[in-house]
Symmetry: D3
Subunit: 149 residues, 6 copies
């Protein structure tokens, strides 16, 4: 374990790491997350909301907008111009899976943007279902792919 | 299951629910979350960063600032004036537990604010440790207390 | 015309008018707007997008989120805690009508919030249709109701 | 009508379109809008406010600041670094015309930025005149030029 | 010196102090600041810009908008609904004095809002004059009045 | 004095200057500021807070986050993607010195970003110490280095 904590300077203070010397490359990251809820919530969601797509559409928009603001939310992230953001969902028996893909052409990667997008989409689903389900939780927010070309 | 989805109107469209008729009450919510990481990450964190408190302090600030902006992140949440926000952490062998407490004196509750604070603190810890640990994940974001007086 | 410009002080400088002496009242405002587009755009919208509700849902979310941020966009508006925001749409042969309703319990009215919500919903519809229609325009952004109780 | 709705993916969900493959080009867009008001409002504006330039200056600043935040307001817009924004006005007998010019050097155009700048400048003028004129409306928000080099 | 640091909890961590028990009162704060510049800058400003009021108007708007966002900028400040904000200026031979007044009806004071308003107005003046004066500095940002009723 | 005010157009109106023709260069700026406080405040800060690093860490984060948002705070600044931000402090007998370094690879310089970072860090220190010291002031906010390569 001799890799260093890149956000800490010699005196231990926080800083936004200098990426000025890194090459501009096409970079992509995909993150996932899962909202665990009751089967009855999923059934209600399917019957009432999914035919109109609204709950999913609101969560999609929320995830996209949050990913764009990652640099405001996560203090030591660089502000980045993103070239692509997409959120998709898979409805399970007692859960909703969230997948967030982000791309940029920049000097640093976008895994934090993908994680923020997935997290805020999950929080938005939580918000829209909480009137019918008091015991939800969000699980397994993680990066599943990170590439640069 | 005859409770209704409070964010959906008759036609299924999204709206910010009308809380104008609800009483102004003191309300509190507590949410938790957990960042799972390698034991070596925790050891490195303790040796290098915790003596200065910086990693935790950055995550605390990030969680507090995000909780204040919940109404911007979660589309159907009401913008609220919060009277108190606190973030605390417990370091485990291979995880960091996050606890976020939020209070208000308002017409609607603050569980989303507490969930957002815990989530963004976890994401900030992730960001600050990702140079040394590529396999972290965030688990168990949930509300553990919600009261009004 | 002896009413005064409430945002201008004695020297003509801009200020946010003092509403500290005004009573806290329940206030509501409704604003409308219209996106004029080609009939073919409406037909395409109905065939491809409306069954899923997505275009409308995205515009709804955008209008709601923008209304909440009116104090950031219109410099001399007061930041307000809103108790209700709703956006609805009516599809016409060659136009989409937008209706935005906002309520608060505050010392000042919310017509600017309703106008901002309607405007940003219209701009979002424009953005989502501009790939198929280059000649759209937004018309008739105005307040149709403003009450206090 | 076989052009596709670029913001909708195969399943009809919203996404921020991928512009990663498009060339970085110098791009400019100009949008206009009009605030219709009473002749007495224009006369009052000229007598009281225009000599100091304040009403126009506030609207200029509001339009410039809003154009920079287009990616936050219109959900599926890309965040862009803008190289130039200018707002200008023409005072008519019973209207104020607004012209907003935006330039960038990017992979996607800036007509939404120009439309947002013109719209928010118009809303700001509305806000500053609404104490003396209750019947204003905003008309004819549209793009009049869009080029890339 | 037995007053405590109100933002630090028992373990030294940052938190947003709990003001839930404090009475809602009318509160006002006034802060000042000064931009020191060359006499030639003041003369140029008077000749070119002041007749149109633009430089001052832009700084006024910037100060007002920043004061409203104090809770976003200063991490441990509470988000507050402000009832009044005003910025005024006095032109001196080699300086511009800034005065920012803020009022609220809340559970906590607004000196940080007044300080933020004065600071950002000074920074905006700096930005607008920096093309003609490379040696400016900002001095004496402080609170001159803080009252509650 | 024949240099022009770059933010004013021919008619004296405000605009964001066109930097589209300028070369993309690596640019760095360093700004400083000073919070003047009582010696007892410094002693209390050292005894209670500095061992944990929290006060400084909160101010560091606040300065970094504000520098990233310069384009939102200072109306005629361009939004920029920053490649590096660092805040450091020096504790004196009756003052805290703040140093903010910012780098970018862009068409325009970053002295405003450095000034905003230093100012907001100073304001955050003020906020965290104001419970124990009512007579602080912020002095000497200025640029000490500005280079391009």
């Amino acid at each position: 374990m001799n890799k260093k904590f890149s956000h800490l300077n010699a005196a231990g203070g926080a800083r936004m790491v200098n990426v000025g010397h890194k090459p501009v490359q096409r970079r992509r990251a995909i993150a996932t997350g899962r909202l665990i809820c009751a089967p009855a919530t999923i059934r209600a969601l399917k019957k009432k909301a999914l035919p109109k797509g609204d709950v999913m559409a609101v969560a999609q928009v929320a995830g996209i907008q949050a990913a764009k603001r990652t640099g405001e939310l996560v203090p030591l992230c660089h502000p980045l111009a993103l070239s692509h953001i997409a959120l998709s969902f898979r409805i399970r028996l007692s859960a909703i899976d969230i997948l967030c893909t982000v791309e940029t052409h920049a000097q640093t990667g976008v895994e934090m943007e993908a994680l923020v997008g997935a997290s805020v989409a999950a929080l938005t689903l939580y918000d829209m279902c909480k009137a019918v389900d008091k015991k939800m939780r969000i699980e397994n927010i993680r990066v599943i792919e990170k590439i640069k070309e």
